[in-house]
Symmetry: C3
Subunit: 309 residues, 3 copies
Amino acid sequence: MRLAGRDLVAIEDLDRPAIEEILEAARALVPAAEGGSVRHTLEGRLVAMAFFEPSTRTRLSFEAAVQRLGGRCLTIADPAATSLRKGETLSDTLRMISSYSDALILRHPNSGAARLAADLSDRPVINAGDGSHQHPTQTLTDLATIQEACGSLVGRRIVILGDLKYGRAVHSLIWALALFGNEMVLVSPPSLRLPESVRQRVRHLAGRIREEDDLATALADADILYVTRIQRERFPDETEYRRVAGSYRIDRATLEGARPELRVLHPLPRLGEIAPEVDPTPHALYFRQAFLGVPVRMALMQSILGGGA
Amino acid sequence: MRLAGRDLVAIEDLDRPAIEEILEAARALVPAAEGGSVRHTLEGRLVAMAFFEPSTRTRLSFEAAVQRLGGRCLTIADPAATSLRKGETLSDTLRMISSYSDALILRHPNSGAARLAADLSDRPVINAGDGSHQHPTQTLTDLATIQEACGSLVGRRIVILGDLKYGRAVHSLIWALALFGNEMVLVSPPSLRLPESVRQRVRHLAGRIREEDDLATALADADILYVTRIQRERFPDETEYRRVAGSYRIDRATLEGARPELRVLHPLPRLGEIAPEVDPTPHALYFRQAFLGVPVRMALMQSILGGGA
Amino acid sequence: MRLAGRDLVAIEDLDRPAIEEILEAARALVPAAEGGSVRHTLEGRLVAMAFFEPSTRTRLSFEAAVQRLGGRCLTIADPAATSLRKGETLSDTLRMISSYSDALILRHPNSGAARLAADLSDRPVINAGDGSHQHPTQTLTDLATIQEACGSLVGRRIVILGDLKYGRAVHSLIWALALFGNEMVLVSPPSLRLPESVRQRVRHLAGRIREEDDLATALADADILYVTRIQRERFPDETEYRRVAGSYRIDRATLEGARPELRVLHPLPRLGEIAPEVDPTPHALYFRQAFLGVPVRMALMQSILGGGA
């Protein structure tokens, strides 16, 4: 699969070799992402950052990625300041932004916005999160972090904790981990279990999925604990939210029985899901994970715009 | 007329050879605006984008223009975040921004703000829209689009439709089209006809102006249909607005009697003035027009800052 | 004191040779700050501008400084659009931004935010104002302006007028002027006199401080009149504010008895503290002072990031 000139709307748009190529390129770009070397791969390229929803972390990591490769950004960070307020359709706005740039990074609250953009634009479109639908560069970043931590992305035991029902970004992660043949142990409140439809989607892939009620048991021989963000706004009942949030706070005590090599990931921002006392332990990998979003996005932009992959 | 170092407050600041030079340069810059070649004309130049009013389209096209030429931007896109909120005068704010940069692109809700900036600053000031007063780079973009569509900017028959009374940007267009000797056919509701003062201003120029009540008659042998945006906020009576807006919706049926070569322009954003069903027809030129704002602004910046023209 | 890789949280972090080196470098960078030459010192460097409080002047002068040296910016200018709104801690946000960039410029409403950032980040952190605590690059700019005006920064007579109690940025200026052995004449309403604690902090330094009730007497043989901004929000009593603001308006009449060489500085934005009629006089140096913020910040960034000083 050649990535040059392609859109990336959903992680499922990529096959396994394409994902491997991106991750391998990302590894090689870590020193450049840390500022240790200057790249000119995107020199003269202009990438539009169309963020119709606040997302500082995703926007800045894309802007860092483009600029670390020598490219330039055209940024909309304040959706209130756009022509949409004047009643313009999203289609018209996207067509305009797309015609000013070489690629379009889109964040939008509505599911399907990235697909619409990809259909309208003759430039590559990268989905930086469209509502609760897809956030493929987050999944790529998660994979890169697991690979860096474990040395390989294949055959790992990965505990996934939290809201597996509404948190659809984690569905993409489960698909990708299944693609690479990992064993996933799902831990969630009964009301927030993985929907059967997602199980069906990954049934033909190499990975295995099982559920576990007890987190300590699940952690016993895990390589990775992936903690999802519990988003208050998804819960119709505030009381239920508080119970769930509280029951899944990871602290030093939680991790006592785990292997020393266990690494904890979280897409950030976190609220109370991981206690700050975990930060200085060797388990904490979520800040590294946040940083790895930069070389991963560099690798992706390079593959799509720079003639590589 | 040498453009290097000059301000551009109003389209009337330019003479015909200066406009022709900008349009010729813009034509040559189309491939660079499309990302096909890298320019370094503005390398090391810093251009301030002072947008005291939301205007994503104009801001992004200027930022694209500056960056496609290798220059850098200093951007104020959120007027609420400025010292103006602390009670600073506009003069003080403009003096500050101007001293930090090599040129100042200004958008401001008050008529005359660009003239004030030009008087205060010893750097070139370009008016990117000051209230309902002037928006000269829009006019240049309109001219470039007509020229590209018709092959020449002279002796064309151009229907201008909509609000010709309050929409003062169209007054600049009429002046410029008159300068190049075009025939303009004005179609508007009786209450929104072109003011006599504008007629007087263009009387000595080569162009001819006539009014026409029936759009179909006007379109019969027109080269261009220029549709203006009807701005609801200008109408004291909502009922009148709706009647006017409705009476001037361009759709496929409207264009049935027109020549196949007729091209439709609109400064965008559009509300209901042009139906989306027109978009895939060969008549639709408004998206191309939006794109041409980039090479036109590149040509202008190059002339003013880059030593050209 | 080597500046490479260091933080700048408070002006007192610098010793006299370090300040002198920055000011000397700033003088040499004035032509580059004016756009007369292109520098590549920060090529490939990415500097994060984290402005959690509106401050267009400071943000733009830092962005101009970084870009005039060939570096790139990652900008947060709208605090409302950050993950802080999602409940993320400031520590987590700062860690993320810091890991995406080579240095962090931080503006924050809370005193101590810059110290927190410096402790968290392994990249240099520069305080661009943290509440009423410190604003060291403003002090450096003030010093550069006095030095340019007087030829030297040593042994000058400097009148400091206004709110010397709450306006803590002026405390840093007083410290720095004392370090260089200047004579300071303080003029303020009785209720807004310099706190004894600040006097104690500068007692061991070479400068002298005295108070004067009558501005005309103070100005008689002064080199510099430094007018502070009187910030309404600091005054519990609106009536007292109006009396103070009114009693210290500098106009042409105020300056009649001063030496022709007297120069007036103000950190801007100003409200009514200096009448616009002063602007065209040779006394007015506040616009130059605003501009000098650019070469001063260039010199600082070059020392910290570019391998210099």
